[in-house]
Each structure stands twice: as structure tokens, then as C-alpha cells.
């Protein structure tokens, strides 16, 4: 790697001011992203906070029930002894019985916790830290970072001395992290299920994680009451916080000293970790993971055979050429011309033949004759009607207007 990626440290009071312009990114952020390791380690480590619980060992067994044996027309399951109550003679003890004990009752000595190899845990933590510096992963985890000035976000140590929650809130607002906090607040939901009656009433999302270094820092109390925000010392980074749910890409806010401490904590590719004894950062399996670039490179394209074209032998569905013109043309290229010629011939016939002309003339003549007769009939009827009216008016002294209606 010739160029080392650089990062700015921002002033705590003003998000546009940069106190340290270009700090090299700690080597942890170059660790290969290994979701498989993180997923494995997370599922196991998440089990370590569980508290032992068990079913009462006597539950369902506090009877002197005995099987009645065969020959009494009942199932052979143990039955409650005695008489004088409904319960007597009822089935007992079995997991299938009502009021019976469960099958394989839970014991307190169930293996609640899992141990994971230290190296795996460290690799997982390193990967999780690396993922916090990759913008698409933080977006994919669902954090609202559109107003954040830089990812990874490194701020000067001044925030470690914040004591008031208002200072903490204003700081988050200044750095665009408040959008994430607002998301947490607006998506607080009452939990589904019985747990809500057992002290876990709300389901709250995870917001930003603030990582500090100095043990005397007071910022824990300042950020404590801000919903969704967690505060952690860089020496005690927790995979359950860096990759909640096994999902990489938590939005992390680093203080400058915490950021600087990461090289000592995880080591680099030049020296192994100073604090984690003998720990060396994971090396990538492939140095260049950009598959598209590899495939399109000259070296590969030179050797690669030309792409095979799938040769289509015939259509999947058979088309009838007598009905489907395109299918016909495929079989007989001359068919198109024949069709065109036939159509032209028909058109010529319908327009100018003698017979057709004669027919047309006849039609015209007959129509004219008909119209003539119809017209004369019309006149005759009109005249007749008029004559009738005149007679009525003249001889029967009917009013001129009234004659019409009769």
C-alpha cells in the first residue's frame, strides 16, 4: 500500500474546524471484513450474559401416581391415587398429560455460556472496528449519517470532560449525530410478548457509540441519558456494541486519544499488538478484492476465451406458418412478396373492372328511380291531406287550425 488513508480530527466546539488535519488511519481499519467470524463470535458471546433459570424440579411430579397396568380399559399412563376428588384417576407425570411434568425439564446446570478462542474474539473485534469506518456498512446498518462530516468521526479530547447532558446533546447536534438519536427516540416501541412485564418494556434501537480513552473522563454521565447513545472505553471495546446483532457497521464517534490508542491496542501490519499479547492483525485472503476490476483487467481478458453465444435451434413453442405470417416468412422468404402481390391484385380488381363499374351504374340508376317514385308518392300524400283539410274547412266549417288534428 503506497498511500496511507488520512483522517481529520474535528474540534469539539465547531464541526467545521479541524484541529488536526491529516492523521493516518490506524491499521485496524484496513483489516479484511470477515462477517463470518463476527457472526460466529457474536452468536456465542451473546450467550454469556444469560442468567441461569430452570423449571421447579418437582413440578408435575408431586403425586404418588401409579400405573393401573393392563386389563382395566384405560391407557397404561400413571394415574393419580386416591379418591374423593376429580383429580383421582387422572393421568399424571407424563409430558403429554395435563398437569404433567414437561419432557426434559430445564436444569440449572445447562451450559449457558460459551467460550470462544481469544484469537477469534480479537479478529472479530478488529473487523467490527474496520467496518465502522466503511460508510456503506454504516448505512446498511441503518444509521442516519447524512449530516456527519466524516466517517470515521474523530473529535478532540475535549468531549471527555463534558459533564452536562446539554453539552452532550449540543455536541451530537453539531456533528450531525442527532439525526441518529432522533431515529432512536421515534422508533421506541413497547415490546411484544411477556418480557414487557419482566422489566424489558421497550425495544430501543442503537444510536451512536462514543469511544473515549482517559479513565477519568466524565463524559459517561453526560451521554448516559441520551437515548441510544452508548459510551465505552477504547480498552474495553465490546463486539456486542460494535456489531449489535452480529450486524457490522455501528456508527462510532472516537475521541482523538482513543483513536490514537487503536494502533497500540490492535497493532499494525508492521508490528504485533503491544497490549494484546502476541496478537497480529488478520491478513486478507485476497489483496485485491475488487472482482470486477480483476475480471476486466488486461491480464485476464487476454487469456479468457470469447463468450459463448447460446445457439437457438428452434423456438420453444411451435407457431403455425399458415396462420402466423412471421413463421411463414421464416420458412418461405418469398411468401411475403406473394402476399403483397395478392393484396395488390385484389385491390386492382375491386377498383376498375367493367362488371363492377356496370354494377355501380345500375345501382346508381335504380336508386335514382326509387327516389323519384318516393318523391312523387310523397307529393301525392301531401296533396291528399291538404285536399281533405280544405273540404273540412269549406263544408263542415271546422276551424283551420283544428282541422289538422283530425
Amino acid at each position: 500500500m503506497t498511500s496511507v488513508p488520512l483522517v481529520s480530527v474535528f474540534s469539539a466546539d465547531d464541526s467545521s474546524k479541524v484541529t488536526a488535519k491529516h492523521i493516518p488511519l490506524p491499521a485496524v481499519f484496513q483489516t479484511p471484513i470477515r462477517p463470518d467470524i463476527v457472526s460466529f463470535v457474536h452468536t456465542n458471546i451473546a450467550k454469556n450474559r444469560r442468567q441461569a433459570h430452570a423449571v421447579n424440579p418437582q413440578a408435575g411430579m408431586q403425586h404418588s401416581a401409579e400405573s393401573w397396568g393392563t386389563g382395566r380399559a384405560v391407557a397404561r399412563i400413571p394415574r393419580v391415587s386416591g379418591s374423593g376428588t376429580h383429580r383421582s384417576g387422572q393421568a399424571a407425570f407424563g409430558n403429554q398429560c395435563r398437569k404433567g411434568r414437561m419432557s426434559l425439564p430445564i436444569k440449572v446446570w445447562r451450559r449457558w455460556h460459551r467460550r470462544v478462542n481469544i484469537k477469534q474474539k480479537r479478529h472479530a473485534a478488529a473487523t467490527a472496528v474496520a467496518a465502522t469506518g466503511i460508510v456503506p456498512l454504516v448505512l446498511a446498518r441503518g444509521h442516519r449519517i447524512s449530516q456527519v462530516p466524516q466517517i470515521p468521526l474523530v473529535v478532540e479530547d475535549k468531549i471527555e470532560s463534558y459533564e452536562k447532558t446539554t453539552d452532550a446533546l449540543n455536541f451530537l447536534k453539531r456533528f450531525g449525530a442527532f439525526e441518529d438519536v432522533q431515529k432512536v427516540v421515534s422508533t421506541k416501541v413497547v415490546r411484544a410478548g411477556i418480557s414487557k412485564q419482566r422489566g424489558k418494556k421497550y425495544r430501543v434501537r442503537k444510536g451512536p457509540l462514543v469511544v473515549y480513552f482517559n479513565e477519568n473522563a466524565k463524559l459517561l454521565k453526560a451521554f448516559r441519558n441520551v437515548p441510544g447513545v452508548e459510551v465505552v472505553n477504547v480498552t474495553r471495546l465490546n463486539l456486542l456494541q460494535l456489531a449489535p446483532g452480529g450486524q457490522l457497521g455501528r456508527f462510532v464517534i472516537w475521541t482523538q486519544s482513543a483513536f490514537a490508542h487503536l494502533d497500540k491496542l490492535f497493532g499494525t501490519y508492521r508490528y504485533s499488538s503491544i497490549i494484546k499479547d502476541g496478537y497480529q492483525l488478520l491478513r486478507p485472503l485476497i489483496t485485491n478484492p475488487d472482482l470486477a476490476r480483476i475480471i476486466n483487467s488486461n491480464q485476464v481478458q487476454e487469456k479468457v476465451q470469447p463468450a459463448k453465444t447460446t445457439k437457438v435451434l428452434h423456438e420453444v413453442q411451435k407457431k403455425n406458418p399458415l396462420k402466423n405470417t412471421k413463421a411463414m416468412d421464416r420458412l418461405n422468404p418469398y411468401a411475403k412478396k406473394q402476399r403483397v402481390a395478392a393484396a395488390a391484385a385484389i385491390k386492382a380488381n375491386t377498383k376498375g373492372t367493367k362488371k363492377i363499374k356496370k354494377n355501380k351504374a345500375l345501382k346508381k340508376a335504380s336508386r335514382a328511380a326509387y327516389n323519384k317514385v318516393a318523391a312523387s308518392l310523397n307529393d301525392a300524400t301531401k296533396a291528399a291531406v291538404q285536399e281533405e283539410q280544405d273540404i273540412k274547412v269549406k263544408y263542415f266549417s271546422v276551424q283551420k287550425g283544428a282541422a289538422q288534428t283530425e
Binding site: 488520512l6 460508510v135 447524512s146
Partner: protein, 147 residues
């Protein structure tokens, strides 16, 4: 980070993934097809363009914004508009300039990513048309009210 690597991490589960009715869809702003696939998922690339509708004010016309994915580390301040761009995207409003927007899309995708280019242009045209219809209806409504 390489798109291939990020895809392996993100394809199983991400904040934009929506699985409904047997379909695998995405609400990724840089995805113009709506379906989650390797090539259409823009937020894992360095150079995607998303066409996004925005609501400027309550009763105003919805504008359309182009959101261009970029991979610089630092937030930039646009000197002209004084708007701060985000770490992962810069926006261009296409309130009046649909031609500028389509040129931006064409230039970004060129001839190599025709599928993505067509998808972005298709969405741009559709949103713009919807805007025009909405504007027409609103104008008609205000006219009717005046009467």
C-alpha cells in the same frame, strides 16, 4: 471498499431490504429499480446516481432530486448554495432542469452501464411527469377555488 465484498456483507441483511410477498425489494435511495440486486444496489458502489422525490414544503410541489453517490471522506460545502453535502452523496435538484439531470446521468453511466442508465432515466422521466400532472391539478384546483 470493493462492491463485491460489500455485497457479500450486505445482501443478507441491510436497512434498505424489504422482503414482501416473495419479492426482495430495496428502499435504497441509490437504487432506481426498487429490486435488490447486485448491480442495482447503488449505496455499495462508488458512482451510483439515485433519483429521489422530495417534499420541499407541505403544500408545495414535490421536487425531484438527483442523489449522486460519492466516495470522498470529507464533507464538502457547496460554495454557491452554502449547502453542506453529506459524506456519501451530493444532491442536485432538478426542479427546472430535467435536461441537465439527464445529462448528468448519461455522463455518469456512459455506454458501459446502460441498464443502470436506463433505469435512472426512466425513473427521472416518470417522477417528472408525475410532478407535471400534480402541478396541473393544483393549478386547476386553485383556479376552481378562485371561481
Amino acid at each position: 471498499m470493493s462492491q463485491s465484498v460489500l455485497w457479500e456483507v450486505v445482501k443478507g441483511n441491510n436497512a434498505f431490504l424489504v422482503k414482501r410477498n416473495g419479492l426482495t425489494l430495496s428502499t435504497d435511495p441509490f437504487n432506481n429499480t426498487g429490486v435488490q440486486t447486485y448491480s442495482s444496489t447503488g449505496f455499495i458502489t462508488q458512482n451510483a446516481i439515485g433519483v429521489v422525490p422530495t417534499q420541499s414544503k407541505v403544500n408545495q410541489i414535490n421536487n425531484v432530486n438527483l442523489v449522486a453517490r460519492k466516495s470522498t471522506k470529507f464533507q464538502q460545502v457547496d460554495r454557491k448554495t452554502k449547502n453542506t453535502q453529506s459524506v456519501y452523496a451530493s444532491t442536485l435538484s432538478v426542479k427546472h432542469g430535467i435536461h441537465t439531470a439527464s445529462r448528468v446521468i448519461r455522463k455518469r453511466f456512459g455506454t458501459r452501464r446502460l441498464g443502470l442508465q436506463k433505469a435512472a432515466l426512466r425513473k427521472l422521466v416518470k417522477l417528472n411527469r408525475a410532478n407535471a400532472v400534480r402541478r396541473r391539478n393544483e393549478i386547476a384546483a386553485t383556479k376552481a377555488q378562485k371561481k
